[in-house]
């Protein structure tokens, strides 16, 4: 199920915007909490291309920009970290035979990554829209998690209370605010920093 632009704007307004820049820790500051893990699921596929534009011409779906940083608990960027992402199309269907809506990104020198895609759809086995992540960096424990959207109708405008409507959403922190960028046409954006431990 894709959100209409109006639904997205309304949800974004009601939940505010909280796109947090990756904090740099001062000496003695508490370490950043590790990003919560979440299920890998059966649709992971090795060998995805290193594409930053996953949009398939002609495919329906609200364009979505996903960006973030890969950090260690001190806030140090993990340059060269591998960020594998995959998600369903707007109808909730995963591409099994090919690599639609799949990518293998490399974090930049400042730990950043970004990709263009569409908002994933719902499907019968899952309540919430989501993007899968598998993030790896030398010397760090591989992070397997999922990114959820605060605007998801499944959360009925109140992800604080409703995130567990999808039993696989085990941690509220994985539900991220969504903003609408109207320049050049409607487009959603979400930020998702990941913190890897050892």
């Amino acid at each position: 199920m894709a959100l209409t632009r109006r639904e997205l704007v309304q949800a974004g307004v009601s939940m505010g915007v909280a796109l947090l820049a990756a904090p740099a820790l001062a000496a003695g500051a508490a370490p950043l909490p590790l990003t919560p893990e979440n299920a890998l699921g059966p649709f992971y596929k090795r060998g995805a291309p290193a594409s930053t534009n996953l949009i398939v011409p002609g495919d329906p779906g609200l364009p979505l920009l996903v960006s973030g940083k890969v950090l260690d608990p001190t806030g140090k960027p993990l340059s060269g970290a591998i960020v594998e992402v995959w998600h369903a199309d707007s109808h909730g269907v995963y591409d099994l035979e090919g690599y639609r809506y799949r990518s293998r990104l490399i974090a930049g020198a400042d730990g950043t990554y970004r990709f263009q895609t569409i908002l994933p759809g719902h499907y019968p086995e899952r309540v919430a829209q989501h993007i899968h992540y598998r993030v790896s960096a030398p010397g760090k424990k591989v992070l397997v998690t999922q990114l959820y959207f605060a605007t998801d109708p499944a959360f009925a405008g109140d992800p604080d209370h409703n995130f567990s409507r999808d039993p696989l959403v085990e941690d509220r922190r994985l539900v991220r605010p969504v903003t609408l960028d109207d320049s050049g046409g409607p487009r959603a954006a979400v930020a998702f920093d990941t913190v890897l431990g050892t």
């Binding site: 299920a39 890998l40 059966p42 596929k45 060998g47 109808h91 269907v93 099994l96 499907y123 397997v144």
Partner: protein
């Protein structure tokens, strides 16, 4: 190549929605777990109901019917794994020791071993000897997640398919991994050794059918069925039958295929319609039974080639 398999479909109407099916006793019978916790058994020859019994114990977290059809393994939320008589549900044995709740149970093809995977994002596997309930192997790796298991007929090796697509080979005597097969790009719930143990066959979700010769673990890749969830190798090791149910999306037509294992050549394919679950088993080297279910309807067909 045939597109229709052989013979007419035998249709069975269950008294309640079907949650899971298993072809047992060399595919002479089919057992089904129904939504009201009844376990029913039918003859695959004429569709006659052979018996049914209702489970009334602690809610199960996983279950498996033994290949012979005479035993039912049930895991429950109180961390128990019990072996029951499949006809009466009388307890026969308890696997021990108690551990974390099991979310997936699988018998070895000869019914002598039972594998139990715990839930959660870690590989926690126990394999028990069915005859005694004693553990044969316990293996845990917090960095791995499992999808399925196959037992080597010699009882020496288990192959565990991981969600990353890797297949981990475990030596059952030492309890240690001996090799990781990394040729698959997606995971698999459908994997089996050939009856003579010379090959391991894995149907990956992306549609690849991977065959490894166990003598040297050299691999070959053929075209299978994307999303395959059931697989069996013929008694002579010459053919493989695989099937998929309808999911991703849920209106995907299910199908079964019979292939020549040496070349990957498709010998026969059979559309199954829209179904929620499938099961396959060979009747003889050239003929396999395909079961599919949706709601309360169960359909049995044969595929040959």
């Amino acid at each position: 190549m045939s597109d229709a398999g052989t013979g007419a479909a035998l249709r069975i109407e269950a008294p309640a929605p079907i949650r899971g099916i298993a072809l047992v006793d060399s595919a002479a019978r089919i057992s089904a777990l129904l939504g009201d916790m009844r376990i029913a058994r039918w003859s695959c020859t004429d569709g006659r109901l052979l018996g049914e019994v209702t489970y009334r114990g602690t809610p199960p977290t996983a279950g498996a019917i033994a290949p012979g059809g005479d035993r039912l393994a049930l895991a429950t939320g109180d961390n128990k794994v019990r072996l029951l008589d499949a006809s009466t549900l009388t307890p026969v044995a308890e696997m021990r020791p108690a551990a974390s709740p099991r979310k997936q149970l699988s018998f070895s093809p000869d019914g002598t071993l039972l594998a139990g995977f715990a839930g959660g994002r870690r590989l926690e596997l126990t394999i028990w000897k069915v005859a005694t309930g004693a553990p044969l192997l316990s293996f845990t790796d917090p960095a791995l997640e499992a999808a399925g298991i196959a037992f080597h007929p010699g009882g020496r090796i288990a192959a565990v398919s991981l969600l990353t697509g890797d297949v981990l080979l475990l030596d059952l005597a030492s309890g240690r991994p001996t090799r990781t097969l990394s040729e698959a790009q997606m995971t698999s719930k459908a994997l089996a050794f050939s009856p003579d143990g010379s090959a391991l066959v894995v149907a990956a979700y992306d549609g690849a059918l991977l065959v490894w010769e166990t003598a040297h673990w050299g691999g070959r890749r053929f075209e299978g069925i994307p999303g395959a969830n059931a697989l069996a190798v013929s008694p002579d090791g010459a053919r493989v039958v695989l099937s998929r149910s309808s999911y991703n999306p849920p209106d995907t037509p299910a199908e079964a295929r019979l292939l020549e294992l040496r070349t990957g050549r498709v010998l026969s394919r059979m559309p199954l319609g829209i179904v929620s679950t499938t099961a396959v088993a060979f009747l003889d080297p050239g003929r396999a039974r395909v079961a599919s279910a949706r709601g309360t309807s169960l359909v049995l067909r044969e595929i040959a080639g």
